[in-house]
């Protein structure tokens, strides 16, 4: 009946879709929804917003930006600003990367992709992480940032 028919139709549809996926699979996977990393690699530059950094966090953030420059072969264009404004600009695609201090339970969490922190510290009840932040859905770009954070920790970064 209804159930059986749907099941058979889907059973046929499923391999067909898989074949399409396999054909489309040429090229990097996962990709960015808005193609951030492609644009960076082709354009040779990426826009970084440093957000309200404390003086002692400056070097770690700078070192991280250098790493990303090396990994992408692109030049960073750095501008400083306030955290909320920088995150808003990141969401709008005016920045590719924001580095700032965010609480583990920040309300920004669902709206942007907060990468694991370069360093952490406690402030009262909260744990603050010095984190790179990317726009949501830029999964290839996020994967690159995650790799660089992990590698920098492995090489004695704070």
């Amino acid at each position: 009946m209804l159930w059986g028919e749907n099941r058979r139709a889907s059973a046929l549809r499923f391999p067909a879709i898989l074949v399409c996926l396999a054909l489309a699979a040429c090229g990097p996977y996962p990709r960015d929804v808005s193609g951030t990393l492609d644009d960076i690699e082709q354009g040779g530059r990426f826009r970084v917003g440093l957000a309200d950094l404390r003086a002692e966090d400056g070097p770690a953030a700078q070192a991280f930006v250098r790493r990303v420059e090396q990994a992408t072969g692109a030049k960073a264009e750095i501008e400083a600003g306030h955290l909320e404004g920088q995150l808003a600009r990141l969401e709008e695609g005016q920045l590719d990367l924001v580095i700032g201090e965010l609480a583990e339970d920040t309300p920004w969490a669902p709206s942007v992709a907060i990468v694991e922190p370069l360093s952490k510290r406690r402030e009262g009840k909260r744990v603050l992480g010095l984190s790179p932040v990317a726009a949501n859905g830029e999964n290839r770009w996020v994967a690159l940032l995650e790799r660089e954070v992990r590698d920098s920790a492995g090489e004695g970064g704070s």
């Binding site: 099941r7 996926l21 996962p30 808005s34 949501n136 999964n139 996020v142």
Partner: protein, 302 residues
């Protein structure tokens, strides 16, 4: 008879099999709920599938609880026994099914409107950064298998037992494996940067689930307010009910025959005729009645 203890003899073995199947259903559902829970991370799309799968526990649990009551004999407080517990469970299952559909649709539409781009990160395993999407795909693929198999096994049982609760659970299982496929495609296509694919697939599937939920809900409500026995496929009067009505009308020409459904059983009332002497319900000739055990009682109102 439903006022006595236990199920009628012709369905005892099937009832036992159904209870066993529903326990397996609960067990397997818990395994893929756990698998999805472990893989979902912060993914909203996965969270939706996860909540739906949790709702999928409601129909089998409703059946298992209902079956325990149904076996009980009538008592001082429940003169007609507990037949209708099955109908009540059916209503609960129908509401759960419709809720799954509405929930899925709402989630898909809001994420399309908000243009939610889902981020799926990586995890470092033995020096390699592995995309978490691969784990999600594995969990989603696994989550399609148990509901497809159990739902397939439920259909013949629900037919033989005339059990709309199990039928609704089969529909719920269909909903679960379909959302599993949608979730799988959603994650896979997200990998290609198609952020909308997940939501569009989910929205399309949700329409089918809402339709099934609505059909079940209509029949469940009709049963609870003493409507004539309805078919789940949309027919007004189901085959068994038609056969009983025809037989009683032939036996008592000029009388009105009223029918209602109490759980899996049918009770009839003959209006405008007195009960003939020595009337034996088991000897009443009824053509084309597949399940004799369904006719629970015939009452007379002269």
């Amino acid at each position: 008879m439903s006022e006595g203890r236990g199920h009628p003899r012709p369905i005892r073995a099937d009832m036992k099999a159904a209870v066993r199947l529903e326990w397996w259903n609960v067990f397997w559902t818990l395994t893929y709920v756990a698998a999805l829970g472990l893989a979902m991370g912060s993914s909203q799309a996965m969270r939706t599938a996860w909540i739906e799968d949790m709702l999928g526990l409601i129909p089998p649990l409703a059946f298992i609880i209902g079956e325990r009551f149904e076996r009980r004999a009538a008592n001082k407080r429940f003169h007609y026994g507990y037949d209708r517990v099955n109908g009540l469970g059916f209503l609960v299952a129908a509401v759960a099914l419709a809720a799954v559909g509405l929930f899925l649709l709402k989630d898909a539409v809001t994420s399309l409107i908000a243009q939610e781009h889902v981020t799926v990160g990586t995890i470092r395993i033995m020096g390699h950064d592995v995309w978490l999407g691969w784990f999600m795909l594995a969990a989603q693929a696994y989550a399609c298998i148990p509901p497809a198999i159990i739902g397939h096994k439920e259909l013949p049982l629900s037919n033989r037992l005339r059990d709309k609760l199990i039928h609704t659970d089969a529909l719920m299982n269909k909903a679960n494996w379909q959302t599993g496929v949608a979730g799988f495609l959603g994650v896979a296509l997200l990998g290609f940067g198609w952020w909308w694919a997940d939501a569009v697939a989910a929205a399309l599937i949700s329409l089918g689930i809402i339709w099934d939920g609505w059909q079940s809900l209509k029949v469940a409500i009709a049963e609870l307010i003493d409507g004539v026995p309805h078919d789940l496929e949309g027919g007004l009067r189901e085959k068994d009910a038609r056969a009983i009505e025809k037989a009683l009308k032939a036996q008592f020409p000029g009388a009105r025959v009223l029918l209602r459904e109490t759980g899996r059983y049918i009770r009839a009332e003959v209006v405008g005729a007195a009960a003939p002497k020595g009337f034996d319900i088991d000897k009443l000739p009824i053509d084309n009645l597949e399940c004799r055990w369904r006719l629970d009682s015939v009452a007379f109102r002269p």
